[in-house]
């Protein structure tokens, strides 16, 4: 046991150390990819509007006339200090964009992940248990189709049906305009802020606004989980210990629910972490479809305005989030499975 603990500690430390080159490679890629296009962010955004002299002054103030390696080192230093610069479009600190709009994205992706887990795991378990039945076929078909459907298309359908035709649910925004105005902001998470205020009407309004976008994004992720859980259930049910349990006279329900299902879910943890990248990219499309003011929504807005400073800052943040989540997932895997070691 002590040997296992030391080994886990070594693994964790090694994994942490490996984060450094991973982050460096990511930041370098982001930096140079943003500079593949001719010109620089200031010229791209303002070149049509400023005189050559004014443009040169702005480029100098932003440091874009310095040698590329100097710019790169400055960029790394800024990121280390948490300074992602100021947007050209509206002169906001990119950090402020990340905090304010990041909370909206986190709220959406958390809710979407919950939907994905519930729908994906439940349907995957059922499909695995009822292998080769019409139920299994139907669930597998659903998983493939839902994963293939573009998020914006599914979102439009949801808006048209639940919003326009039935009038059950709101179709855009995080809350109604009045709620958005009246809600006191404590954490930037509207559900939590409304609970802090004890404002149940606001909580209900925010919750209703969350349903369609979270369900849209969550269903798409669930497609991956359905297939994964099903395959794991089938493999687990073939295991020797399952046969042994049956041979000992345990009821089928007990065998399946208490033994097989639990073991089938272990690899799902890894996959869930890997879905973070998919969630973030899906959030861009979902937020745009539902007018959800998250980071993805802002990213599209800044892209349209050719505000490459903002775009670079947001993409850097996305990359760092994916790195952090993948490291956490690796820790959890190593903790669950002693075979995961360096």
């Amino acid at each position: 046991m002590a040997r296992q603990t030391t080994s886990l500690r070594t693994y964790a430390l090694t994994r942490l150390v490996l984060v450094i080159p991973m982050v460096l490679i990511l930041l370098t890629l982001v930096f140079f990819l943003m500079r593949v296009a001719p010109g620089d962010p200031v010229s791209a955004a303002l070149g049509g509007r400023l005189s050559p002299q004014a443009l040169a002054e702005r480029r100098h103030a932003a440091g874009y006339d310095k040698p590329i390696l100097v710019q790169y080192v400055n960029y790394l230093g800024d990121v280390a200090r948490g300074d992602f610069g100021h947007t050209i479009t509206d002169n906001r600190p990119v950090t402020e964009v990340i905090v304010e709009n990041g909370a909206a994205t986190f709220e959406l992706t958390t809710a979407a992940m919950m939907v994905a887990v519930v729908v994906g795991i439940v349907l995957g378990l059922i499909a695995g248990r009822l292998r080769d039945t019409p139920v299994d076929v139907g669930i597998r078909l659903f998983g493939i189709v839902i994963y293939a459907v573009p998020p914006f298309f599914l979102g439009f359908l949801a808006q048209l049906f639940f919003g326009q035709k039935l009038g059950w649910l709101p179709t855009s925004g995080r809350a109604s305009p009045e709620t958005q105005f009246l809600l006191s902001i404590h954490t930037h998470f509207f559900l939590i802020d409304s609970l802090i205020d004890g404002d149940w009407a606001a909580f209900k309004d925010c919750f209703l606004h969350l349903i369609l976008p979270a369900t849209t994004l969550g269903l798409i992720i669930s497609g991956v989980l359905i297939r994964l859980v099903r395959v794991n259930v089938l493999q687990t049910l073939k295991g020797d210990y399952i046969e042994a349990a049956r041979a000992r006279g345990l009821g089928e329900r007990s065998v399946v629910v208490r033994h097989a299902f639990k073991n089938a879910l272990v690899p799902v943890v890894t996959v869930l972490g890997l879905q973070v990248a998919l969630l973030l990219s899906g959030a861009v499309l979902t937020e745009t479809t539902f007018n959800w003011p998250g980071i993805g929504f802002e990213l599209v807005r800044y892209l349209n305005n050719r505000d490459y400073i903002a775009v670079q800052g947001i993409i850097t943040f996305f990359a760092l989030v994916v790195v952090v989540v993948s490291v956490l997932i690796d820790f959890v895997n190593a903790w669950i499975d002693p075979r995961v070691r360096y």
Binding site: A44, A45, L46, G47, G48, R49, L50, A54, T89, D90, N91, R92, E100, F156, Q159, G163, Q164, G167, P170, T171, S172, G173, S176, P177, E178, Q180, F181, T288, N291, P293, F297, E298, V300, R301, N304, R306
Partner: protein, 535 residues
């Protein structure tokens, strides 16, 4: 896209028109009353929610030069002069009176007791400061170019404005400028508190303070802006207590919002299809008003084929405006037969007089007699600045021109930021442009279009037109200005350096029970939130 003024000489004698308007003591609008706070008879606690797909750039008039930013500025700040609802001439607003001392000196006397929404008094020092900082900031949006008669952008000398006392402001113009009273009505001329706004940089958008009917109490870019009634306002207060401006990414989201009742008003930019659909939606009414934004086709007269007048005229004979209006825009715009839109004093249908209301293929063929046809034309448009209809509009223009057998059009497009750079570098033989007015006067559609090749750098040069522009600027005689504008339009139509295509209407979708939107739709393009109420 706004030009820098170059070479336009502006001369004004006594401004009879302006003096007449000033003598009316505030103009025709009841909301520009004589200086005391208005009564509360029509006040309500209503909150008006307006949805829009427009985005703001800045709420600091020091560098705001787009329609939506100005719409908020008109409601949060005050200007010395204003265009009253339904009017098209400037009348005093923050100023009690304004008049020319001589052709280059314009003096305004401020109202007494005016305060900013934070309670600090508004004096002549604030007026002078507002113009000075706009020139010194010399921002990216280029609004300081509006004040070129006062000073060049970035070059304030200190002699431009005199403030002999707290209530008197004298503008010492560099040259006579008949349109100066109009310029004082624009959003760029809004007055800011000198003790709060920094001199050489912009005030944060969520901390703006003005003396207008509203105060901006909340702003989240891309999400929401909230205006609340300013109880310190000197004049007739706003009819509603609060305005929530909700920003939407695109027109489908905005359409769903107005249908579902999430917003009371949907204004800019519903597509023609959305508008058609909303006409039959329950609880929604479509309100239309006169608009003077225009769209037109420009020829670079240094490049083939636009350098040949016969080709330009043949295209003018061939374009079917009514087809574009009906098939692309579903009647939400109207055909335009002049670069000066209908609704402005001096407008004539010069292109209709010259080329007819409908296409004339025989006349087009005659223009091109002796030339090898079809003539290849490279035509550029931009998808990201003039609305969703641009693609269909230029596809339709191509269809019309190709269908005549006389032309072979190749369509190309670029995003707006690159488009503005390339059109100025003579990269486009012919291209799409549009124009929103700074102020509702025909001069705004002439002085920027023709002298020195126009702001779009089309290289068209017509000394007779330049002379007519000088004539209309040199007089306050209405008939002489009308005659000069008629001459400008006739000459321009004959040469066709541009082909006007359509003129927009102002259109909003409004929920039942909401009133006042129709009152604010006029050529001034000031969306007056203060007129709107709901039951």
């Amino acid at each position: 896209m706004r030009p820098k003024l170059t070479g336009a000489r502006r001369f004004v004698a006594v401004a009879a028109t302006i003096a007449l308007a000033a003598a009316c003591g505030g103009g025709s609008g009841s909301d520009n009353g004589g200086g005391s706070s208005g009564g509360t008879a029509n006040l309500s606690d209503a909150t008006i929610i307006m949805g829009t797909t427009d985005t703001a750039v800045h709420f600091d008039p020091g560098d705001a030069y787009d329609l939506h930013s100005w719409n908020v500025i008109y409601n949060v700040y005050d200007e010395l002069m204003t265009i009253p609802p339904g009017g098209n001439q400037p009348v005093p607003s923050l100023a009690q009176s304004c008049a020319w001392d001589d052709p280059k000196t314009y003096t305004c006397h401020l109202r007494k007791g005016v305060k900013f929404s934070n309670g600090s008094p508004l004096t002549s020092e604030d007026v002078a400061y507002s113009f000075q900082r706009s020139i010194e900031i010399n921002g990216d949006q280029g609004v300081c170019s509006l004040f070129s008669s006062l000073a060049d952008c970035g070059k304030w000398t200190g002699n431009e404005i005199s403030t002999p006392d707290d209530l008197t402001v004298t503008f010492n113009l560099r040259q006579p400028d008949a349109t100066w009273p109009f310029i004082l009505t624009t959003g760029g001329a809004a007055i800011v508190p000198s003790d709060l706004y920094p001199e050489t940089k912009l005030q944060p958008d969520d901390q703006v303070v003005g003396s207008g009917r509203y105060k901006l109490v909340k702003y989240q870019p891309g999400v929401q802006a909230v205006l609340e009634r300013n109880d310190n306002y000197w004049g007739e207060p706003a009819k509603n207590a609060r305005v929530l401006i909700q920003y939407y990414k695109d027109s489908p989201a905005l359409k769903l919002a107005i249908q579902g009742g999430d917003v009371d008003i949907a204004f800019r930019n519903l597509t023609p299809t959305d508008i058609d659909s909303l006409k039959t939606a329950s609880g929604v009414n479509i309100v239309e008003g006169q608009g003077i934004e225009i769209r037109y086709l420009v020829f670079n007269t240094k490049l083939d084929p636009g350098k040949d007048k016969a080709v330009r005229r043949a295209i003018a004979y061939t374009i079917d405006r009514q087809s574009i209006v009906d098939n692309v825009y579903n009647g939400t715009v109207q055909p335009l037969y002049s670069m000066i839109p209908a609704g402005l004093i001096g407008h004539t249908d010069a292109y209709k007089d010259e080329y007819g209301a409908a296409p004339n293929p025989d006349a087009a063929k005659q223009e091109l007699a002796g030339m090898t046809t079809p003539i290849p034309i490279e035509m550029w448009w931009t998808p990201s600045h003039y609305g969703d209809g641009s693609a269909d509009e230029y596809t339709e223009i191509k269809r019309q021109l190709d269908g005549s057998g006389l032309f072979k059009v190749t369509l190309k497009s670029e995003e707006w930021d690159q488009y503005t750079v390339d059109k100025a570098k003579d990269a486009f033989p012919s291209f799409q442009l549009g124009w929103f007015p700074d102020y509702p006067d025909a001069d705004d559609y002439s002085a920027y279009f023709y002298p020195d090749g126009g702001f779009w750098n089309g290289h068209y040069d017509n000394p007779a037109i330049d002379k007519a522009i000088s004539e209309e600027k040199a007089t306050t005689d209405q008939q002489k200005r009308v005659d000069a504008f008629a001459k400008i339009q006739k000459l321009a139509a004959a040469d066709a350096p541009t082909v006007p295509v359509w003129q927009g209407k102002q259109i909003a979708a409004v929920r039942d029970g909401v009133t006042g939107v129709e009152e604010t739709f006029d050529p001034a393009y000031i969306f007056r939130f203060w007129l709107i109420n709901k039951s």
